[in-house]
Chain length 116, copies 4
């Protein structure tokens, strides 16, 4: 896995976990890889994976069964989508639209790209 430089690895890993849940690759109650296992797979230190999992736990995407492992929270998918929709619509979109206005970019420009 390649990591973008200016975003912490542990957050990038958390993002990919969310993506796998959103895409249906990992489903409710599935066990996610152990910190050691995923660390080996991605070539990063288990501590870093641990940090991802702690973060994902605080936002209720995974939960822990002690001594057993981490599991996908049944409400994870909804939680992720709602959270991201809210952030996107309320915070990111206004900035994007404002930027488009300043840069004189029209919707047509966008749709022409989209259809490539």
């Amino acid at each position: 896995m390649e990591f973008n430089d200016h975003k912490p690895i542990y957050l990038q890993i958390a993002d990919t976990v969310c993506d796998k849940i959103l895409s249906g690759e990992w489903n409710a109650e599935d066990r996610v890889p152990s910190v050691r296992e995923l660390g080996m797979t991605l070539g990063v230190n288990p501590n870093t994976i641990m940090r991802s999992y702690e973060y994902l736990q605080t936002i209720n995407v995974i939960y822990n069964k002690r001594g057993v492992g981490y599991f996908v929270d049944p409400s994870a998918k909804d939680a992720i989508i709602n959270q991201e929709r809210r952030i996107f619509l309320e915070e990111e979109l206004p900035k994007i639209l404002n930027k488009m206005k300043l840069l004189n970019i029209n919707p047509e420009d966008i749709f022409s790209i989209k259809n490539n």
Copy 2:
């Protein structure tokens, strides 16, 4: 001014300077506020403002007259627009469209807002 976390303050300040130039609030050859003055206004260490100005100078948005101050470069507006258009269309937009797809947000619905 509130500073969005995870993006360096000096870059956020540089962004607002660019915005003021793009929007026409600050024009070619206008003097921009002194490092100290803007620092006071924003409640930020002057060193941080200095860093913004140095950055803006490297991308030819402002220039310096020694002992006098910083001024808006005549070619700033065009430079910013071209640079940011390129980045926006090539790098940011694909990510945005992909995200909207994952979140089930229809681009047509959103960008038609612009026409209201």
Copy 3:
């Protein structure tokens, strides 16, 4: 059964066993559930129940008849009461009272509830 985080499950189980003995639900020489049976009931690995029982055996609350099962020790009730009274009064209560003081909770108000 829900398990309070940060306290080992096997100790939480041991606590509930003690409670059942204190409350008179389980009496001297009664047979306690088998490791497998209680594991099923609580949705917990039998190894964990085993660990509870081993612990309860070391503090003389239950004893084992090989091939038969675990039984409530005749002296269990007294032993538990004396042990827990001591711990409660000497160790826990001072902390509790101190905390109530910090939180502005009046002990008289609270403990008079008991008399209702």
Copy 4:
């Protein structure tokens, strides 16, 4: 500083920070010691202090000014008291009262200790 064995050091440190705020030793907007400084003082690794501070930040007891340090949140005191009162009254107290009942401990026993 002495650390209790079965509670993570970083939580114990967080507790002492809360105590200092509750007791008025540290007030709103005060700067708390840097992670390195407090690490030296307590003889623990700065990473461990960092972990305490991250935790305290998530529960809105301190906040961060980038490149400057951590500061006591103006609402910290109220937040801590409300949070701890709630936990105490709703979660801990019922257990305590139940335990007292099982152990035949009367309020009088408590007040006699309290007055020593």
